[in-house]
Each structure stands twice: as C-alpha cells, then as structure tokens.
C-alpha cells in the first residue's frame, strides 16, 4: 500500500494512522444543529436590495415591447432593467471547451436580449427594498411576446426542421464518434448479440437551499464581494472578474454554509451574473435567492438521454464488445464554463466500464431544445452509463441462462490486470471489482435471497434482485477542463499555521457543502502534525483567505484537497520541530510531536507543549539562536497528474418487491460495496454513499421534469415533482474495499458520487428481475407505477 511512511501520531490511536480511518463526528455540524449556520439568505447588510426576475412564460418567443412604467412606480422599487441595460455591465459568454471538438453554442446574456429560448429564462430584473415589493412589481411588467416554433423532442431537434439558433446551422451542440479497430469483425463473429433501448428522464438537483447570491459592490474601491452558494469560489472569482470587468484581485467570493449543491451550484447562472451586475450598477448590495418554482425552471437539469446499446458475447458468456448510440437533449445553450457536452462525453467514456471486452463503438449527439439547460449534476453521465451497461449485461445473462452474479464474475476486469487501458482510452490505475463483488454477495447473502425469491414467487409475490457494477471518475487532472481553455483549477492548496496557543489553523481551497470536507481536513491535519482533532480549526470557501484551487466537484475534495493538507502538515510538523530543537538545544532527529507535545522520540518524555513552542516562536524569538527564523505557516498544493482521472469502483445491489396489480415498487433493501481508496472517516463515507444511493433511487423511481410539447414544465413544484422521502427509502448497507491510489501519499480516491452512479441501474435490474418471469421489462426511467403496469399489459 506504500503508506507506511506517514508520521501519524494522533493522540489515543495506536494504529500509526492517527485519525485516518476514524469515524470522528465533524465539528462544523454543531452550529447547523442549533440553526446557527450562515446561509446566504441569512446575511444582513446595510442598504441591501432584493432582485427578482421577470421570466419568459414561453419556451421560445421574440420579446416585443417590455413596459416597466407601472412596475417602476410600485412601492419600494429601486429599478427595473432589461437585457440591454444589464449587458452594459456584464459581457455575454459562450459555453464551449477547446478539447470537446466541434462543440458549439451561441453567446448567452445574463438577461435575455430579443428572444427567450426556454420557459423561465430571465428577461427583466426588478430590484426593490424588499423581496415582497420586488415580486409585487414584477407582476406589473407588461410584455409583448411573439411566439416562435418550439423544439422539445430530441429526435426532432436532431432532424433540424426547426433550428433554434439559425446562425449555428443545426441543432447539434456536440457529437462524438468512437470505434476500436476490429469492432465490426468482433460483432460479426459473436455468438450472441443482445440489444435494448433505454430512456433516462430529465431530473434536477432539488437542493433544499435554492441558489443564492449576495453581491456587494464597493464603488470607492472598485471591489466586488460576493457571498455565494457556489462549489467553486475561485472559478466564480475569475468569471465575475472577466465578465464584469473588475480586476481579479478586486473580486472576493465567500461561501459560508451551503444548503446542498450536488453539482447544481458549480455553474454560471444568468440570474446570478445579473445580480452581481445589478450591484455594480446600483452601487449597493443586491441579493437574489431562487425560490422553489424558479429552481425547477432554472437550476440545471440533467440526464434526458435515449440510448440504444448492443452487447456481443460468446456462447460461453465472454463479453466481446459494446455498441452505444446516445442521443441527449441539453436545452438551448451549452452551460458556461463547463459545457453541456460533458455528460454525453462521460457516457461514451464509461459505458461497459467494469468489463474486460476489447471492442467498443460509440456514437453520441447532444442537441439543443427549448427546455431548461442541462449540465453536470452528481455522478455526471455515470448513472446512464452504469444503468445501460448493467441492463444489457443482465439481458445477455438471461439469454445465456447464466446467473447475473456469475456472468459478472466471468467478465469483470481481473483484480491483478492493472494498470489497465479501457477500449474507450481511459486508464485505470488499480481497481478491485472482484473483491467488491465477493464482498457484496457475502454481505447480502445472495444465495439465501435467491432462494427466498423463488419461494415467494410460488406464492405470487414478485421480488427482484438487481446488481450494478460501476466505475467512478474522481480527482480529475487538468486534462478534464484546463486543457480545453476553461479557467477551472485542477490543483488545490492548503495552508496550515500553528497558532500561539498551540492550535492548528487550516485554510483550504476545497469547499464544504455538508459532505464533511472540513471534518476530514481536521482529521488529516491533526494526524500529520500530531495534535488532537479538537485543536484544529478549518476555514474554507473564501477567495480572499484560502490558497487557490478548484473547489468541490467530481469527488475531488478528499483526494486533492486532503493531499494538500497532508503535504502542508508534514512541513509544518518539521518546522515545529525546528523551533523545538532550537529552543531546547537538542537534535531535531531525536524529537517527535505526539499528543500536542514535543516529546523525546525514544523515551516519549515530554519536552515542550505546542503552546510553549508557539509562545516562544511568536513572542520570545529573542531567546532563539540569532539566525533562526521560525516558519509556522506552511502552504502546499497538489495536482493529480499521472492519470486523467483517479477511478474508483464498486458494485450495488437492490432488493425490491413489485406489486403487479398496482405497479408500485417497494424497496426492501439496498447494498453498496465500493472502493474509495484510503477511507479517512468511515462514517462520513458511508453517509456520502447512502445519500448518493437515495438520489439514484429518486432518478429510478420518482424524479422527472415533465415538459409538454409546447415546452412548458408541467410539474415544476415540490408537490408534483416527487423526491425520495423517508417513508419510501430502504435501509442501505455499505461495505468497503480499500485500494489506495499510489498517485498521492494520502491514497484517497473520493466517494461523493459512487452511490448515485450505481443505484438507478441496480433498482432497474431488480425491477426487471421481478418482472422477468411475467415476460415484462421496463426501460424508461423513472419506473412509475403507470410504466410498470404498461409493461405488464395492464395499463
């Protein structure tokens, strides 16, 4: 494992790993439990004004005359602005990346100019002294609309009879074709070919806290301070700077508590950019918080893919090839700056991911439609790639009469085959599919469940067991965004400082949205320096304070930020020992830091507390040798570079009961065994997995943004859009295999998205396992009672 060299001496631990591997409760949860967190909407500033947006009621329409005269006279109104007015302060953007060959998208403005391209697009901004006044005034705006033809169907978009952006020539935003040499021959010679088409519904993040921004422009200094619910404060600093024309160093982005993000809060949103521009225009703080109805209309959506997949194998059950055809609809614009091409691209990269076939062909097209934009949401592309792969794998196993677990065992990449290059070109450092499969089958008692299933079937009870093996992209290198020209950092930094009283202060560029990054950074820092975890304070989410870095996305917090904390901690520890050696006039090599004290390495005898070191270093350096200068603040950075991504792997299982009369699915239990490398805090990892699994279950059973042919969102509220609630969710058993990455000393790979990546596929396979004896199957998520009854011929 290569991790033995770490000087981890946390108090009370004897493993040599300090707090690494301990389920330490995270300190920052305490304020949240008392309602004493600070979310953006909790902030109060002098002269604060509130922005509300007047949004297009049409999916596609030319904007005629906008009459603000009545709205401007409403009580408390400070100003009403159209797209032209806002554009004078905020430059438009184009959501393309250089390495996604051929991707195209038109310029997008903060507030629409001339035309609205989806229902909910902001076409005017109202600013008032209170939110209620701004909402009242927005109702008084008179708008003249000229409706345009609407494109909502993906296939129609592809055919392009109506082109949404005529200047682009067609509705294709991005496409990618891929084929390995020998693919056609492999398919021609296969004994068995199976094929299925899957539909993945559009859904969205539904963070409990709506998107929120409070922009505070100081005209005297030409500085902009933005309190922002974002995952990537440095990325946003760069974007505010370039689009509002304010020097980068004059922009400060601060993220206090954030009410969930899941990828929703890592993108540039027009209404948020407009809010920042309004603050500059009005020279005062302006706040915008998306309400729930606006969130459904404007938070990025995700998925909406129609995929046909074919699998070729031998009659003995060896998979030879996969063939993928993916069509996805992304709305009228590619989202800035990460683009809306990434999800489809990931489906191409990841399809067939866990298996050892050599041949692969893929065809993917992302098309523009007049619905809300889609972009990267938790587990980007993975739930689709995993579900379609695992779905067709089950179909093949069924056709061959093989047990699905055995069929997987036969085809999963061997645990000793690494490093391994996958047919799509991606490289795996070290995965553990077989260990995970074995552990899962033991954990769930697979044979017993199969026996139970067979016994219950005789009584007319239809239970199903579904498996889904998966790989997950984590810790992206600069090859993910940076090489494409995006100013998105793949490196992160951490600063550690020993304070005079012997506490360790940590500043890190990775942010916290509740996943527990601050908690694990405290555990790492405490372990590496040699202090108790209570003596560590962590600050994240402030571009004015922390080192520069990418923030939180792609399950990179532990692997990238954690390694930076570890490296800074090693140097701080060494520097503390330098002070101790100088102070005590002893050989540094004979000293160690254990339990908040400098001790004699051999005898363990206490030499000085860290508080004493701090006192001398900061207040009595005159007592140290003349040329000695203490350095008790240390910054280190880390960039994953050896591989394009650090991959994790795992496998999930779902156990369901289908009521064939009503079409309802009861989730009985769910299992996930995954390998996130070094586990820093098992409890936090388990909770990441569980939360992720439930999001995947939501996609499988409940969640869909339903649009009419006219491009109207028909269920854009929490009463009609179903999310998983406590009553329907099963208990989730989580197991681990630990294969640390050798790319870093910490060895953490990341755990944020694995649950979501595999859960929908496992649930789908479980339902189809239950339905198989009845000759039915479902292929369109979410699997509503209606769709299940249709499959059974009962609807």
């Amino acid at each position: 494992m290569g991790k033995a060299e770490l000087p981890l001496h946390a108090p009370g631990t004897k493993t040599g790993r300090g707090y690494i591997g301990q389920s330490t409760p995270r300190a920052n949860a305490k304020r949240l439990l008392q309602g004493r967190g600070t979310f953006v909407d909790d902030l109060r500033l002098p002269r604060i004004a509130h922005a509300v947006f007047f949004r297009s009621p049409h999916a596609h329409a030319r904007i005629g005359k906008l009459d603000f005269s009545t709205a401007l006279k409403a009580p408390g109104v400070i100003g009403v602005f159209d797209g032209h007015a806002v554009a004078e302060y905020c430059k438009p953007w184009v959501g393309v990346l250089g390495h996604l060959k051929g991707i195209k998208s038109p310029p997008q403005h903060a507030v629409a100019i001339g035309r609205a391209c989806w229902q909910g697009e902001a076409v005017a901004a109202v600013v008032a002294e209170t939110r209620a006044q701004a909402e009242d005034a927005a109702d008084l705006i008179e708008a003249e609309w000229h409706e345009l033809p609407v494109v909502t169907d993906m296939q129609a978009a592809l055919e392009g009879k109506v082109v949404i952006h005529p200047e682009l020539g067609d509705n294709i935003c991005f496409q990618r074709q891929f084929v390995t040499e020998g693919f056609d021959e492999a398919f021609a010679n296969a004994d068995v070919v199976v094929e299925e088409t899957y539909d993945f519904g559009r859904h969205t993040g539904v963070c409990t806290e709506g998107r929120a921004i409070l922009a505070d422009y100081n005209a005297a200094e030409h500085t902009l301070t933005v309190h922002h619910a974002t995952q990537a404060p440095h990325m946003m600093q760069d974007i505010f700077s370039r689009h509002l024309d304010i020097p980068e160093s004059n922009v400060r982005v601060i993220c206090r508590d954030i009410g969930g993000s899941f990828g929703i809060k890592v993108h540039v949103y027009p209404d948020e950019m407009a809010t920042a521009a309004l603050s500059v225009m009005l020279r005062r703080p302006v706040k915008f918080v998306a309400d729930r109805l606006e969130s459904f209309l404007t938070d990025i959506h995700a998925r909406e893919h129609r995929v046909t997949v074919r699998l070729a194998c031998t009659r003995d059950g060896d998979i030879i090839a996969f063939d993928l055809d993916d069509l996805t609809a992304i709305g009228p614009y590619s989202v800035y700056p990460r683009t809306s091409g990434i999800e489809g691209n990931q489906v191409v990269n990841l399809t067939g991911g866990p298996y050892r076939h050599k041949q692969y062909r893929a065809n993917m097209r992302a098309v523009f439609t007049n619905k809300n934009v889609t972009c990267q949401y938790r587990a980007v592309g993975h739930p689709i790639a995993v579900a379609l792969t695992e779905g067709v794998v089950d179909i093949a196993a069924r056709k061959l009469g093989m047990d699905p677990a055995e069929f997987r065992r036969r085809n999963l990449i061997a645990d000793d085959a690494y490093p391994y290059t996958f047919p799509s070109g991606i490289k795996f450092e070290k995965l553990s599919h077989h260990q995970c499969l074995d552990k899962l089958l033991a954990l769930m008692d697979y044979e017993r469940l199969r026996a139970e299933q067979a016994a219950l079937r005789e009584k007319g009870i239809h239970r199903g067991l579904g498996l889904a093996a998966m790989i997950e992209v984590t810790n992206p290198s600069p090859a993910f965004y940076g090489v494409g020209g995006a100013r998105i950092s793949a490196q992160d930094g951490a600063t550690l400082r020993l304070d005079p009283a012997g506490m360790v202060n940590v500043l890190c560029s990775v942010t916290e949205q509740g996943q527990g990054t601050e908690g694990i950074f405290a555990q790492i820092a405490a372990s590496v320096v040699g202090v108790s975890v209570e003596r560590v304070r962590v600050t994240t989410g402030d571009t004015g304070v922390t080192p520069y870095g990418g923030g939180t996305w792609a399950s990179r917090g532990a692997g990238t930020g954690g390694e930076a904390v570890l490296q800074a901690g090693k140097i701080l520890r060494s520097n503390i020992l330098d002070v101790a050696a100088a102070m005590l006039n002893e050989d540094k090599a004979k000293l160690d830091i254990v339990n908040n004290e400098v001790v004699d390495k051999l005898t363990g005898a206490a030499k000085a507390t860290l508080a004493e070191i701090g006192r001398v270093a900061y207040f009595r350096p005159d007592t140290l040798p003349m040329r000695f200068q203490s350095e008790l603040t240390v910054t280190r950075h880390y960039t994953p570079r050896e591989y394009g991504f650090t991959f994790t792997n795992g496998i999930q299982a779902s156990w369901v009961e289908v009521d064939v009369e009503t079409g309802f699915v009861k989730l009985l239990k769910h299992w996930c065994v995954e390998d996130c490398g070094t586990i820093i805090n098992p409890m936090l990892v388990d909770e990441q997995i569980r939360g992720g699994v439930v999001q995947g279950i939501g996609a499988a059973l409940f969640e869909e943004c339903l649009y009419g042919e006219d491009g109207q969102l028909q269920n854009g509220n929490l009463a009609d859009y179903l999310v998983p609630m406590a009553g329907e969710m099963p208990d989730i058993v989580v197991g681990h295999v630990e294969t640390p990455t050798l790319g870093s000393e910490l060895g953490a790979k990341g755990a944020g998205e694995a649950g979501t990546a595999g859960a929908s596929g496992a649930v789908m396979n479980a339902i189809n396992d239950a339905l198989a004896p009845l000759g039915a199957q479902v292929t369109a998520m979410p699997f509503t009672p209606q769709r299940i009854l249709e499959a059974l011929g009962k609807a």
């Binding site: 949240l32 909407d41 899941f262 729930r292 936090l684 939360g691 439930v694 009553g727 208990d731 989730i732």
Partner: protein, 162 residues
C-alpha cells in the same frame, strides 16, 4: 395592501409585540423581522418541512402560517429550543451519527423529531420514517436520521412503557 395587525406572541419564552402585515408568513416574520434565521425557507408551498416551527406545542409549516395567526400564542424555534436544552439529546444523537450534511433541513427535521420524542412511546423504524415523511432531506438518505431518533427513543422511553 396595508393591512396590518397588532400581534403579541411569546417567542422562545419572551413576549414580543409587533404590528405585522396581514399577508406576512410566520417564517418571513421570524427570519426577516426577528433575525431568527435558523428556520429556513425550502419550498414556500408546504411540502419540504424546512420551515417547521412550533406554535402552542404543535409543529406547523412556517410558510403556510400567517404571522398574525400566532397572536396570543407561544412560538418556539430552533434557537430557543437549543438554548433551553430541550433538543440537546437529539442534537447530540444527530451529531454522533452525522444525521445531517448541509444542515439546511436540520432545524425542521429536529422539530419533527422532537414532536415524536415528546409522544413518549416506542416506535418501529417504519413509524419513525412515516413521521418524517413531511420533511425533505436531499443529503443523508434519511437512514442516519432514523437511527438517531430510534436511539433517543430507546433511551428516553422508560423500560416497560410503550
């Protein structure tokens, strides 16, 4: 639009008198007028439970209750119930099990949980889950929340009861 009523309530144990616009919701009054930002706004249409507060001992949706409806009543929020120590056992159980991630739903979730604890009876996990069905959490998947409540119920309910 200028309908306002003189309103007096006992807010977290102390009397508060204000002239409140009739259309103002209780959650907006608590957050915007009283600075009690611990209760959050999640959906503003009564589904998510994030704004749950207690009025005269009953949990209510702060977004479906008008502030003037609290006239003459006792209103308790997360801030008051934390300071009084009423929620301490639950908060400790939530902390130990990481039964929260982003913490946005947590004050409302604790209100619903405390409502259950106050009923002083033994409950199955299914019953606990059913009681929480009006509180949406996107982060946890609910299991750790159910675990925490179950633990508190087991320690809180005297032996032989329920």
């Amino acid at each position: 639009m200028d309908h306002a009523l003189d309103t007096t309530m006992i807010l977290n144990g102390a009397p508060v008198s204000r002239r409140i616009p009739a259309r103002q919701h209780l959650i907006d009054f608590l957050r915007d007028e009283m600075g009690l930002t611990g209760s959050h706004l999640g959906c503003e249409h009564g589904v998510c439970g994030t704004c749950t507060v207690r009025v005269d001992g009953q949990i209510v949706r702060g977004c479906l209750t008008l502030a003037v409806q609290a006239n003459g009543k006792r209103v308790d929020t997360i801030e008051g119930m934390s300071d009084s120590g009423e929620l301490a056992v639950l908060q400790q159980a939530f902390h130990a099990r990481n039964a929260l991630q982003c913490g946005f739903c947590t004050p409302g979730m604790l209100m619903a949980a405390q409502d259950l604890i106050g009923q002083k009876r033994k409950l199955s996990r299914e019953e606990i889950r059913a009681h929480l069905s009006g509180n949406y959490c996107r982060c946890t998947g609910y299991q750790s929340i159910v675990d925490a409540i179950e633990e508190v119920l087991q320690t809180d309910v005297p032996h032989g009861q329920g």
